[in-house]
């Protein structure tokens, strides 16, 4: 049964990792604008997939 305790601790550590990742993303501003990315996603790349649209990324 000791293994349950160990597993619980592992699962907690992993879950906490995701929590921290979420908070970091939040602080980065990734959740500030939830609308524009959904529209941006639908833009086609130019001509036969030869992309001219440079992704600007965060700045």
């Amino acid at each position: 049964m000791e293994v349950v305790v160990i597993l619980i601790f592992f699962s907690l550590i992993i879950a906490a990792g995701f929590l921290i990742a979420f908070i970091l993303a939040l602080r980065n501003g990734q959740f500030d604008d939830l609308v524009t990315p959904s529209m941006r996603m639908l833009f086609d790349n130019k001509k036969n997939g030869e992309s001219k649209i440079k992704k600007t990324g965060e700045f």
Binding site: M1, V4, V5, I8, L12, A15, A16, L19, F22, I23, L26, R27, G29, F31, D32, D33, V35, T36, M39, R40, L42, F43, D44, K46, K47, K52, I53, K54, T56, G57, F59
Partner: protein, 813 residues
């Protein structure tokens, strides 16, 4: 690619009888241009189209149909010259190291995905743009560019040349720090949710009643983990409740956060004691669930409409700089430096930033931002022009008589800001209930403690803390956010956008509704000349049309629009006297069109003098009658007013004269509450006096002249024709299309308050059951973990569903 699009567009044009501009979609009337198969409504549109095509940016036209905006290239060099001034530039830029600079612009024109696409591909138009990013909801464009290659002024001109002229106003100079409260709330919610899930999981053995020796041996380990998980919830997530509770207590006021905070602290303290000293399970699961649910309520309540601005003051309306005379030439000068006596130059479509006197040129001032009245007013030299008007036509020179910060409207604004500080949240129903509820609960806990102290001291702590835990008004605290939040969302769907959800509750408490006239109950921009007198013959009509189309006076234009279907006759000896009227000879008849005096009506006893805007007509000295310029009332106005009249007391405050008194008293039922010739500060003091008399007043207005009254009112609503109309600071923006629903909105807000009251009853019911258990000292963690979330979930479901139901019943959905 571009060929395909052109074919497509050409195909569309053949189907439509009337060609429309391929760039902006406006119908191409006179002066339109044709290039191959493509039509353009103006040169500007063609230039943008060709520019984008040359740069292979024609995808702009394939993402959305005809997304373009008419570029305004008019005097761009001069208009943006102030951006070359270092102090202004540095204030506007977010970042500048001399090579690379970053700036955020407000670009209200952004309206579709094509806009996003084009603005994010700015670097293809100009290589000095490094990157650009659009925030669609906030209509914000951030650009990073090489400032040593491309000056800020050229950057703005570039945007203006493709139709996206950014809005740079005085208020852009004082940068406000970004609102990050959403981020913090998300973070608090995430921590609480994380703790909630894991604590629940660790509590399962207790829920299921495992008491085998194995589970027993680990229960202490689990309990310690629960404490570790609960600490961030109490310290970080629940901070949102401690802070307002503490602030309320310092002002000697018990708000809803006080009992919530007491509940959280007692829950945590009691659980710590139980786990560490008694080796029991504790109530950490209930604690986490409570904070998590309450934070969801907070998030739900926090609905904001990013694209609408509810806090605009006068500064967000005025330009940053004006052209002021410096020795012999005009150069741009920041508005803040403008002094009395400065000579300024105002060109077509520019806003007059300060109260001033017209020196040269003829002023045609559109005060629609100020009064809502869109017919421009003519101003002759030597006359006063108030700040906030927009010049239409030729350039004019003005002498400033008051600094912009001391202009009439600005002073009025400052005055209201000082006097009125709306007591936000203090009077809400939830907080009022809390101020009775909290002492009651504390009293009950105290009595329980005394009781058990006498009969069984071992149960004293146990039962009195249980009372405080179970009484924690979680459901009570959720009722308001969920009802009001839902109401706010549903009203938004029906085109009434509220600043925040507390406005719904203020709306429900209203006792009287005060309307502004021009632009509020009348349609702005729609006025219709009505002829009073004998019926005109077609020949007379065509004579009138022939003469008025010679003139550019706004009233002439109005008349010629009305009569444009008629035939044009040859006009001889045309003469226009400023401020008087027109005269000419047509087919041998001498025609005069103009003022009362101009047609010689003074000597004619039969014709009454009318105060409102009128145009008299005479042919061969025979006065046929006059055109009265009547404002068109909004559709459904009589129904709206009579419906509101049955519940509220109504009033009308108009800045105009009382020429329409009779028409209006028919609509309002009486003329007791119709007030005319009210200056902005009269409106403000009228509202304030009624509020001082204990009434809850809503002001429905539109222009800057209502700004003071809107701010002073319990609820200030502005009416907007579309979402880019300027609206002064207010609590809510009602789209003109939703005007006829106004009575329904008011009724619905009352329904919402009723729903809150019912859900309070529901949560009291749960509380009574819980308290009955708690006072006996037999509250187990499992019961608490079931009872508390159950009551919250019931309340949340009840409020959201019944609010949606009522909205449907009121015809808002």
């Amino acid at each position: 690619m571009s060929n395909r699009i052109e074919k497509n567009l050409a195909g569309k044009l053949i189907q439509n009888a009337k060609p429309v501009c391929v760039h902006c979609g406006d119908p191409c009337g006179k002066g339109s241009l044709q290039e191959n198969d493509l039509y353009f409504c103006c040169n500007g549109c063609r230039a943008v189209y060709n520019l984008l095509n040359d740069l292979e940016l024609d995808d702009y036209y394939s993402i959305e149909d005809k997304p373009g905006l008419k570029p305004n290239r008019l005097g761009a060099e001069d208009r943006f010259a102030y951006l070359d001034q270092e102090n202004i530039r540095e204030k506007l830029l977010d970042y500048n190291d001399g090579k690379v600079a970053r700036i955020s612009f407000s670009v209200p024109q952004i309206h579709c995905s094509s806009c996003i696409w084009l603005l994010e591909n700015l670097y293809k138009i100009n290589k000095s743009v490094l990157s650009s990013r659009v925030d669609f909801q906030k209509r914000l464009l951030s650009v990073t560019f090489s400032i040593n290659e491309l000056s800020l002024k050229d950057m703005v001109i570039l945007l203006a040349s493709i139709g996206y002229e950014p809005e740079i106003r005085s208020s852009s100079l004082n940068k406000k720090p970004k609102d990050k409260s959403f981020r913090t709330l998300y973070a608090r919610l995430a921590v609480a949710g994380f703790g909630f899930g894991n604590i629940m999981l660790l509590s399962f053995p207790e829920y299921l009643g495992f008491d085998s020796s194995v589970a027993e041996s680990y229960s202490f380990v689990f309990a310690i983990v629960k404490i570790l998980l609960a600490i961030p919830i109490v310290v970080f997530s629940a901070f949102d409740f401690f802070k307002p509770a503490f602030a309320g207590l310092r002002q000697k006021y018990i708000n809803m956060d006080v009992p919530v905070s007491i509940g959280i602290i007692i829950l945590f303290g009691r659980s710590l004691y139980d786990i560490i000293f008694l080796n029991q399970a504790g109530y950490m699961d209930s604690l986490a669930a409570l904070v998590f649910l309450l934070l969801i309520g907070r998030l739900y309540q926090k609905k904001t409409y990013f694209s609408l601005l509810f806090t605009r003051d006068f500064r967000s309306f005025f330009p940053i700089s004006v052209l002021a005379k410096n020795k012999d030439s005009f150069s741009s000068m920041p508005l803040d430096d403008l002094e009395e006596g400065n000579r300024i130059l105002i060109r077509n479509q520019e806003i007059i930033p300060a109260d001033s006197i017209l020196i040269t040129g003829s002023g045609k001032i559109d005060y629609s931002f100020v009064t809502g009245e869109s017919v421009p007013i003519e101003v002759n030299s030597g006359e006063k022009i108030y700040a906030g008007g927009r010049q239409i036509g030729q350039s004019i020179e003005l002498d400033v008589i008051k600094k912009p910060s001391r202009s009439y409207l600005m002073e009025l604004w400052e005055q209201t800001s000082r006097v009125i500080e709306k007591q936000q949240n203090v009077g809400t129903l939830a907080n009022r209930i809390s101020s009775y509820f909290t002492p009651l609960i504390l009293g009950l806990a105290f009595i329980t403690a005394i009781f058990w102290l006498i009969f069984d001291p071992t149960k004293m702590m146990n039962s009195s803390t249980a009372v405080l835990i179970i009484a924690c008004p979680c459901a009570l605290a959720l009722a308001s956010p969920f009802t009001l939040g839902t109401a706010q969302r549903l009203m938004g769907r029906a085109n009434l956008f509220l600043k925040d959800s507390t406005v719904v509750e203020n709306m429900a408490r209203l006792t009287s509704i005060v309307f502004d006239k021009t632009g509020t109950i009348t349609q702005s921009g729609a006025s219709e000349p009505v002829f009073v007198g004998a019926k005109l013959t077609p020949a007379q009509k065509s004579m009138i049309y022939s003469i008025v189309r010679q003139s550019t006076h706004p009233l002439s234009i109005l008349l010629s629009d009305l009569l444009s279907e008629t035939e044009i006759k040859a006009v001889k000896k045309f003469n226009e006297e400023k401020g008087k009227g027109l005269e000419a000879e047509i087919e041998g008849f001498s025609i005069r069109v103009g003022s009362y005096k101009w047609v010689g009506a003074e000597d004619n006893k039969k014709i009454d003098k009318i105060d409102s805007t009128t145009i008299y007509i005479s042919i061969d000295n025979d006065i046929l009658g006059y055109y009265r310029i009547a404002n068109l009332f909004r559709k459904g106005l009589p129904e709206v007013i009579s419906s509101i009249n049955s519940i509220y007391s109504t009033a009308l405050l108009s800045g105009d004269n009382d020429s329409e008194k009779n028409r209006l008293s028919g609509i309002f039922g009486s003329d007791n509450n119709l007030f005319f010739d009210k200056a902005p500060h009269d409106k403000l003091s009228y509202i304030s006096s009624r509020i001082d008399a204990g009434e809850q007043v809503a002001m429905v207005g539109d222009g800057l002249n209502d700004a003071g009254a809107l701010k002073a009112a319990t609820v200030g609503l502005t009416i907007a024709e579309n979402d880019s109309t300027f609206s002064p600071a207010c609590d809510g923006i009602l789209m003109a299309s939703g005007f006829r629903l106004l009575p329904q909105f008011l009724k619905f807000s009352r329904d919402s308050l009723r729903i809150i009251k019912i859900s309070f009853l529901i949560s009291f019911l749960y509380n009574t059951i819980g308290l009955a258990i708690a006072v006996q000292g037999i509250l187990s963690p499992v019961i608490a973990a079931i009872l508390m979330p159950a009551s919250s979930v019931t309340v949340v479901l009840f409020t959201t569903l019944s609010t949606a139901f009522m909205a449907k019943k009121r015809g808002l959905l």
